[in-house]
Amino acid sequence: MELITPARPSATADFIRRHPTIVIGALLLILITLAAVFAPWIARDPITFEPINRLKSPSAAFWLGTDALGRDVFARMVYGARISLIVGLAVALIAIVSGSVIGLLAGYFNAFDAIVMRLMDGIMAIPSILLAIALVALLGSSVSVVIIAISIPEVPRVTRLVRAVVLSVRDLPFVEAARSNGTRIGKLLRRHILPSTVAPLIVQATYICASAILTEAGLSFLGAGTPPEIPTWGNMIAGNRLYLQIAPWTIFAPGICLALVVLAVNLLGDGLRDRLDPRISRGI
């Protein structure tokens, strides 16, 4: 006797069909990360300028043309990806780690809670770009100052999220059981409460990464971010703004690249949210 089994799609094909946004977002990010890592091999030097080649249109020699100083726009764009990716990742990491620690403590210890949450309300009220501008103006412009300045306003979002999860699980039977077994507080938080926060935190991390990349670009654009000698998408757009009419590629190329990276991260986040927990709503 023969059984006729319907053709089953492979696991990979099935995943792509069910979560197209994760796949598209991840592929775009992998591509851009590879370009950023191997920048010296795929692009010429982004700093040297050849005045003879000022404002050249895109051509075989200069794929995306040159800017007002005769620098290769494609090369600057590829190197600019480095700053965006580093800032995005670092801010997400710092905000998630510090926000989780504060949120765990605030959610678990009532005495700590009121003060911390008022502090977070206050930080949330300060416009993030102004806070970053103030810190950069005070501490001088460097990539690490930019990373810290962008991380601070993101911490309250994580704290609130983690605190809410802790409040919802801390009196559940399994936590109660661990507590009555005499589990020490550190282990209790780490082993029994922290795991519940992982899924929402992964999703939140992608949104923080996207918003950090946007804020870094905004700061660079305003001239209050990464030092001007390092090419970033933001300072490329700011530096070429006067040539919008005669050399629009000098602005559109980094602009579209920036939008694509943020879109990729957002798509990844939306896909992960649907995959991990459909109930998580998007934070602001």
């Binding site: 206050g122 300060i126 103030a134 005070l138 501490l139 654009f221 305003l222 209050a224 757009i237 602009g255």
Partner: protein, 314 residues
Amino acid sequence: MLSYVLRRLLGVIPVMLVVGIFVFSLLHLAPGDPAAIIAGDNATPDNIARIRTNLGLDRPLLEQFASWSWATVRGDLGVSMYSGIPVTTLVQQRMGPTFSLAITTLIVAVSIAVTLGVLAAWKAGSLLDRAVMGLAVTGFSVPVFVVGYIMVYYVSLQWRWLPVQGYKPIADGVGLWLSHLVLPSFALGLAYVALIARITRASMLEVLAEDYIRTASAKGVSTMPMLLRHALRNAAVPIVTVIGIGVALLISGVVITESVFNIPGIGRLVVDAISRRDYPIIQGSMIIFAAVYVLINLAIDISYGFLDPRIRYN
């Protein structure tokens, strides 16, 4: 009701206190002597000493904070280090353009976003719905200066429909005033549209699944009144909440938009202050923008009772 408003008003105090501590400590957190920072790079020791006594920087920190807070509460935000003009005067001079930009953006963004969100929820799963959701993700990903320059390139430079940049006060004519605000408010509004449309759609989807909507359509209420009077009114609370939270997004966007379109508002004031390291201006505008954010969200909290009579204040 009155006690609720009072309680919420009192709740503003700790938030603004935290903002105050943060803004105040900025100067003191920085490595080095605040007086030397204020005096600038080529100041003599005499200069620095004079600034220190003038600003009271030699007094205990707590005393400095107390007098600084009291001055701030009375509306004295200090004096610009560059021009010597009081920060409040500078801000007042720049308020018109910023306010105009914020209001037009709010009107443009909320009307587009709510319309799109309602239509997307009504035709859930359709091509229109997917287009709106696509726009929402994209709108969240494209920074205001990228949209801004793309629009300026096509609308102003290629087609010559609207001015490239600048600002004209409303006294010069409403048409002229508006024509300078169209591109900035669309560029600034895009992310806001994305945010609000998403929430409107989600909130409407929830309401449209309710029994009373089925009852309404069963008894023959036509589509538009059903969507607007029955559904949107009941979906309003989350939408209004996100409009309030999104004000933070709008404020950060205003600073950048004013730079893109060369609008002489408070945002430009701050950006110009960066290179001059004019700290009182940066600190003052942080306080003002934070207060605006807190007050708008306070107003929204209080408005819930009017939007949804089921919400009781207690």
